[in-house]
Amino acid sequence: MQTDFPLFPDQASSFAFQVDALYFGILALCVFFALLVVILVVIFAIKYQRKSDDEVPRQIAGHLGLEIFWTAIPAVLALGVFVWATVLYFHLITPPPNAMEMYVVGKQWMWKLQHPEGKKEINELHVPLGESVRLTMTSEDVLHSFYIPAFRVKKDVVPGRYTNLWFKATQVGSYHLFCAEFCGTEHSRMIGTVHVLEPQNYEAWLTGGTANEPMEVAGERLFEQYACHTCHKADGAGRGPSLVGLFGKTVALEGGGTALVDEAYIRESLLNPSAKVMAGYKPIMPTFKGQISEEGIIQIIAYIKSLKAPELTRME
């Protein structure tokens, strides 16, 4: 089909083909059963048309074997499809460990996207071809849903929480970015474009634009601006724990239990510091709720991520 009247979406990500394969697999199953029933009932209608008004056909009560047969077959087929679809789902939601990190903030009615180098975009997202990209997303107001049909990916964007999504673009071009969860008046205009660029073009685009500071640099500036560094000293001598190399570790908590230091934990620690205090420290940190924007929090997270422990750096 030509582009002005397409009947099928582009296959522009690494798993578009697999999703489509499942789609056509189920479609074949459906067509088979639909045709089976339709052909049968049409034949019956023609063959067993009522001949006279007082005709009474033989009354067949039922057939246990048949019932078991047509209960078991759909059950087995349905479970087969379930396994196929669920295996695919786990593949779709599990990002590779080396994926590029990008950040998305949804608000009525626009998408704010940010690259790890600090470049910000509104309703446009540039990504390099063949590179895995992991998005960390949150919303400033209501529910949104981040949807790129050509990549076959979608995930709700929930206020108060981070959700994730990943993809690997496999075809250069521009694709629709939709908000799929109804979010108010301009819901249908909360759309954008994803540009897939060759890696060298992506680099050129990144450096060619306005000089934005990288996210961790912005984060570091905020870290000093809010005087975080006065307690969270790098050598661990401050009133709060050192944040160097902390990201991704599981820490013991005051009062028992452990917590994984991830994006959500850092965000919680900024907004509600006393909720999960690391073992050995006092709950003295003030809340920064209402003082730092969602973007600011993401920048601080990026900065904390960049604080790698020295031996880790050596190993890499």
Binding site: N272, S274, A275, K289
Partner: protein
């Protein structure tokens, strides 16, 4: 509720759609139980909400709970249990067709129900005074404030819905009392008293769960 159209060829109190009294009575009881199922699920939505937020914010819930007055809660629990006993006695008397007995026990039940509501009124007033009503008068400003508000939202939602059921119950009780005084209920025809009893006991059961969940969990001050 059964239909009270009186037919001359029918026993007293038998509605036209039924064949005999046992069928009518069974229908009434099954009807009330069907209604109580919906009530279980209705309060169930509240309890599910409570359960989930409680497991997420135990500290805030302990703190919220510790502001509630256990002695008032325990007193009200006792009041409702006594009222359940008197209601059960009213049903018992209705089986005997004892008009005076039904009336005495209905009055007692009504008084106990009102006592419960009066105590509840004083509890609510205290909460309003201390500014513990989310959205309307809310004074706490700590870091836990939203979660604390969640506890009080649930507190007012659940006890408010329970109190509403009590008020409806007392209204029905007055109606039953008048009907009894008119001599409507006999040893054969007493289904309305019986199914109202089911309703009243159900409202008591809801409170039996509300009391520990809302009042008692604050005593250990973060026992986890």
């Amino acid at each position: 509720m059964a239909d009270h159209a009186v037919h001359h060829d029918h026993p007293h109190g038998l509605a036209h759609q039924f064949e005999d009294m046992p069928q009518q009575k069974e229908s009434a009881i099954i009807g009330m139980w069907s209604f109580l199922i919906t009530e279980i699920l209705f309060f169930g939505g509240f309890f599910a909400t409570y359960l989930i937020y409680r497991s997420y914010y135990p500290e805030a819930f302990f703190e919220g709970s510790s502001h509630l007055d256990i002695s008032l809660g325990a007193f009200n629990t006792a009041v409702l249990i006594i009222s359940s006993l008197t209601m059960a006695m009213a049903v018992h008397k209705s089986h005997e067709g004892n008009k005076k007995g039904i009336m005495v026990y209905l009055i007692l039940t009504g008084i106990l129900g009102l006592t419960f509501l009066v105590v509840k009124y004083f509890e609510y007033s205290a909460k309003i005074e201390y500014g513990l009503v989310p959205g309307l008068v809310w004074h706490p400003h700590g870091e836990n404030s939203p979660q604390l508000a969640l506890f009080y939202s649930l507190y007012f939602g659940m006890t408010g819905m329970h109190a509403l059921h009590m008020i409806i119950g007392i209204g029905l009780l007055i109606w039953l009392f008048i009907k009894t005084a008119q001599g409507t209920y006999t040893a054969e025809y007493n289904a309305p008293v019986e199914i109202f009893g089911l309703y009243w006991h159900f409202v008591d059961i809801v409170w039996i769960f509300l009391f520990p969940l809302l009042y008692l969990l604050g005593t250990q001050g973060g026992g986890h």
